[in-house]
């Protein structure tokens, strides 16, 4: 049997599923340590205020309560949470303290940690903590923020934390002379990743060994370990973060939150293991929110439909603090507005506003979901104004294969220059239209059938992936021939064990079932980077390729010593080393494990790309929208596992549909979160969007990594908002309904149709 190159590209059923479908996974809530106590967090119910006093006496008197910890218990200076990405010094003012320190700035901000014998007792004790907060005027929206009557950070003098600026060419000059300019205002609502498994930690401090172990790590364990060690004054080696099964991430889970400090610190203080699992309401007010962007944008084109420029200002409601990756969305709003199209002139500012709401961070397709809504809407509006078919208008302006690599706009104040690496955008665009049967379906546009008007939309997108700088692996070939791959990539539920085993099996030409993938825990490799920016397959997978070459060298050396020949004379095939007519199995080469460490370095992003088309039907009487058909075509360069990749695309599109129609974290003018349960925060269910198709292509391998793969975990979601708004506008074109705001909820669509009807036929 020859096993080489037989696993990559195959729809391998997942290794993970064997335990997960039986309920035999181990999530953090399933981890228990002997003698453990339970933590529950007291959170501010006031959006903005000064803490006058915290009286813990009555709570401490309750039987079973061990401690009530507040800011004063965590050292002279309450630790702040540094920025993992874009760590600009001018943003230090906005770093979140691990527990409220004199002031509360959002509903849900941690104020105290109660430690008790059981979760129930700790929850009971919350009622006994006397918390006196003097309210300050809440900054609950952009108008409040700009009025400056109330400031979140007085020392900063403004509620604008920072303004990002994307630039290219000379927009002001270009707009002066452009044939066609249109200016519009758009809004994308606050919503969130909302993964199913609540966050949690179990932390244990071994005082004799001076060692802290924390279960429940995700996404970026090594970075979080360094942060936690620094905050606790420990050596990095004294802290171990352990990743167990993780119930979804989508950008939000695994960033360093206040609880990442509070639970380990509490375990250290009380000297016993401490367990904390959040509930859903707590999750909704404490884990990162996302989107929440308002944008005024101008679009310029020539009379014959050549795009010239984008100019505008976005206001990103960042919430109360700038969190670890809080700049990513706002930066992307500015830098990626142009998407897969040629715009020679770009001038987009994106300001981060601090408000008394839960802080924002990344959620799948950060900044891209928002800008695709804006840009694709603008293109359809321009097509209407210029009387050019919107399909043709897009085709004329997509970046051409010959223009690759194509640089995106520059960005300041934290440079992140990037260029579209490769792709045949036109081929994918046309393929999508063909698969969708655009011509045939176009006959239905504007038709009224059984009370529903029919409409179509098409849009293209780009999906960045593979953030650097590196990923690390350690390969151990055990005596007997089993291979264990330890890696810095982490799993958030995307099927990492399966995909990486496929890559390792092909690279080492070792049978798939002899490979074990261990990932995400800080004891596995020295310096891992984890799972974000659709990077695991490209960065972790490429590191496995690098490591496999090193391990093969080591195997050749061992075999050469065995055979008494030169390493170059040894050939490796079928898990055996061969010299002339003699062979020895890998597993018999050494009585000790053969071990190597390897790194893959890469600073160039991968750019997957695609086109989606949709067919909707709209009932103007109720505002209800049916998504009748949805087609997505994406080129990912190289596909490792079609089954899991298809799953990423479908799941991502449905999340995008949730953002387009349903999901909304609503605050009132006092900064109170009104949507704190799944009864208020609506997510897609099995009956909502039954017909979605996704096709993945391998047209243009990525030139920047040895796999040729492009990160592809987010793409599906990116164009969905724009596509749905355009399809609704198309369906209701007789009324000239133009949605400029998400979500496209029934009341909003109904209102737009009502207003438009009144305008079309005034009574």
């Amino acid at each position: 049997m020859k096993v080489s190159n037989s696993y990559i590209g195959r729809p391998m059923e997942r290794v993970e599923d064997l335990r997960l479908v039986r309920g035999a996974g181990t999530y953090v809530a399933d981890v228990n340590r002997p003698n453990q106590l339970y933590a529950v967090i007291l959170r501010s119910s006031t959006a903005h205020g000064i803490i006058k006093s915290i009286d813990t006496e009555a709570a401490l008197a309750l039987e079973g309560v061990h401690a009530v910890l507040t800011a004063k218990d965590f050292g002279n200076a309450v630790p702040r949470i540094p920025l993992r990405l874009q760590p600009l010094p001018q943003l230090e003012t906005f770093h979140q303290p691990v527990v409220a320190d004199g002031k509360v700035r959002y509903v849900g901000e941690p104020v105290a940690v109660v430690i008790a014998d059981s979760q129930a007792i700790a929850e009971d004790a919350l009622e006994y903590v006397g918390l006196d907060i003097e309210s300050l005027a809440p900054v609950a929206n952009r108008a409040h923020a700009e009025a400056k009557k109330s400031l979140l950070f007085e020392e900063h003098g403004s509620n604008v934390a920072i303004t990002w600026k994307a630039f290219r060419g000379n927009a002001d000059e270009a707009f002066k002379t452009a044939d066609y300019v249109r200016r519009e205002r758009f809004r994308v609502q606050r919503h969130a990743a909302m993964f199913m498994e609540p966050r949690g930690f179990v932390a244990e401090w071994d005082s004799a060994a001076g060692k802290l172990t924390v279960w429940g790590a995700a996404k970026t364990a090594w970075y979080n370990r360094r942060t936690l060690a620094a905050q606790l004054g420990l050596d990095v080696e004294a802290v171990d973060l352990v990743e167990v099964d993780v119930g979804g991430g989508f950008g939000s889970r695994g960033e360093f939150y206040p609880e990442d400090f509070l639970i380990p610190a509490a375990a250290k203080i009380v000297g016993r293991p401490v367990k904390w699992i959040e509930d859903r309401r707590e999750h909704m007010m404490s884990a990162n929110h996302a989107r929440d962007v308002e944008c005024e944008v101008e679009f310029a084109a020539t009379r014959d439909g050549k795009f010239i420029g984008l100019r505008g200002q976005a206001w990103c409601d960042t919430g109360a603090y700038v969190r670890t990756n809080g700049s990513v969305g706002p930066r992307n709003v500015a830098q990626y507005m142009s998407g897969p199209y040629c715009f020679e002139h770009i001038d987009i500012k994106s300001s981060m506003l601090t408000t008394n709401k839960t802080p924002c961070g990344t959620y799948r397709g950060p900044g891209r979901y928002e800008t695709d809504f804006i840009r694709e809407r603008m293109i359809d509006l321009a097509a209407q104004d210029l009387k050019i078919d919107r399909v043709e208008l897009r085709r004329r302006n997509l970046v051409a294969d010959a223009q690759m690599p194509y640089p995106l706009a520059s960005i300041t104040p934290y440079d992140s220059s990037t260029e579209l690496d490769s792709g045949d955008y036109h081929a994918v665009f046309d393929r999508c239209l063909r698969e969708f049967n655009w011509e045939e379906k176009s006959k239905l546009r504007g038709q009224l059938i059984d009370g529903y008007y029919h409409g179509l939309a098409v849009g293209s997108f780009i999906e960045g992936g593979a953030a650097g700088p590196k990923e690390e692996v350690r390969l151990v070939l055990e005596p007997g021939g089993l291979l264990t791959v330890y890696m810095g990539s982490s799993s958030v539920g995307q099927g990492l064990e399966t995909i990486m085993a496929q890559i390792a099996a092909d690279a080492m030409e070792i049978s798939y079932d002899k490979i074990t993938i261990l990932h995400g825990s800080t004891s596995y490799v020295k310096d891992g980077y984890g799972a974000y920016h659709s990077r695991s397959t490209v960065m972790g997978g490429s590191a496995i390729l690098v490591g496999s070459e090193k391990l093969k060298c080591l195997i050749r050396e061992k075999a050469a010593a065995h055979f008494g020949c030169a390493p170059g004379d040894v050939s490796l095939e079928d898990e055996q080393a061969t010299f002339r007519q003699s062979s020895i199995p890998f597993g018999e080469l050494s009585e000790e494990p053969l071990e190597i460490e390897a790194e893959f370095f890469n600073k160039k992003y991968t750019w997957a790309y695609g086109t989606q088309a949709a067919h909707v039907a709209v009932d103007p009487g109720t505002g209800h929208v049916k998504v009748l058909d949805y087609m997505s075509v994406e080129d990912v360069g190289r596909m490792i596992n079609p089954l899991t990749l298809h799953g990423q695309a479908l799941g991502s599109i449905v999340q995008g549909l949730g953002g387009a129609f349903l999901e909304h974290l609503v605050y009132d003018d006092e900064g109170q979160l009104l949507t704190g349960s799944f009864a208020d925060y609506l997510m897609p269910t099995a009956s909502d969007f039954p017909k979605i198709e996704s096709i993945t292509l391998e047209l243009k391998p990525c030139p920047n990594n040895p796999l040729g793969a492009k990160g592809a975990g987010e793409g599906g979601l990116i164009p969905v908002g724009g596509l749905m708004a355009n399809a609704i506008a198309d369906a209701l074109s007789h009324l000239n309904v133009q949605p400029m705001e998400l979500p496209l909820s029934p009341p909003r669509i109904w209102q737009l149709a009502e207003d438009a009807s009144a305008e079309v036929s005034p009574v």
Binding site: E13, G248, F678
Partner: protein, 157 residues
């Protein structure tokens, strides 16, 4: 309070407070952690278990209400081999993070046990009481459709 009920075919006893939910009792007292809690207010369905064959949200049922009843969790559905329903979930990639999966499998098992001929619309209707954030649901529906055959033939597992 001492309670006694049948869990996955075994008679079990637990000492619980009157306020303890069935989910907490199963997970904490009886250490069967396949039943997951994702909302604790009865919307997401991750904690679904079978009580006398009916799908029940164990976060909304008190442990004391299970007295003398027959409770089956996801752990109680399969032996050494995956059930046809579990195998279909794997084949169709109907799970990614797997956190909601036990609730989907118990819900679908209850449905197909009662209605092995359920059509796609009926399956979607029943599954719409469970939230999944990863899959987009389409693969889950495909898996349940495929598993119907085994329920027609064998009445379930």
């Amino acid at each position: 309070m001492q309670i006694e009920f049948d869990l996955n075919g075994n008679s079990v006893k637990a000492d619980v407070e009157p306020r303890t939910t069935l989910a907490d009792c199963i997970r904490n007292n009886l250490e069967q952690t396949g039943t997951h809690l994702a909302c604790e207010h009865g919307v997401c369905g991750a904690c679904t278990v079978l009580v006398n064959g009916e799908a029940v949200r164990s976060c909304l049922m008190l442990a004391v209400q299970a007295e003398n009843e027959k409770v089956v969790t996801v752990e109680g559905l399969s032996g050494d081999e995956l059930t046809p329903l579990q195998a279909a979930f794997r084949k169709h990639h109907a799970l990614q993070c797997g956190f909601c999966t036990p609730g989907f499998i118990t819900t679908a098992h209850a449905l197909l046990s009662h209605e092995p001929d359920a059509d796609e619309e009926r399956i979607r209707e029943v599954l719409s009481g469970n939230l999944c954030r990863c899959s987009g649901y389409i693969p889950i529906v495909e898996a349940v459709l495929e598993a119907r055959g085994s329920y027609r033939n064998e009445g379930g597992k």
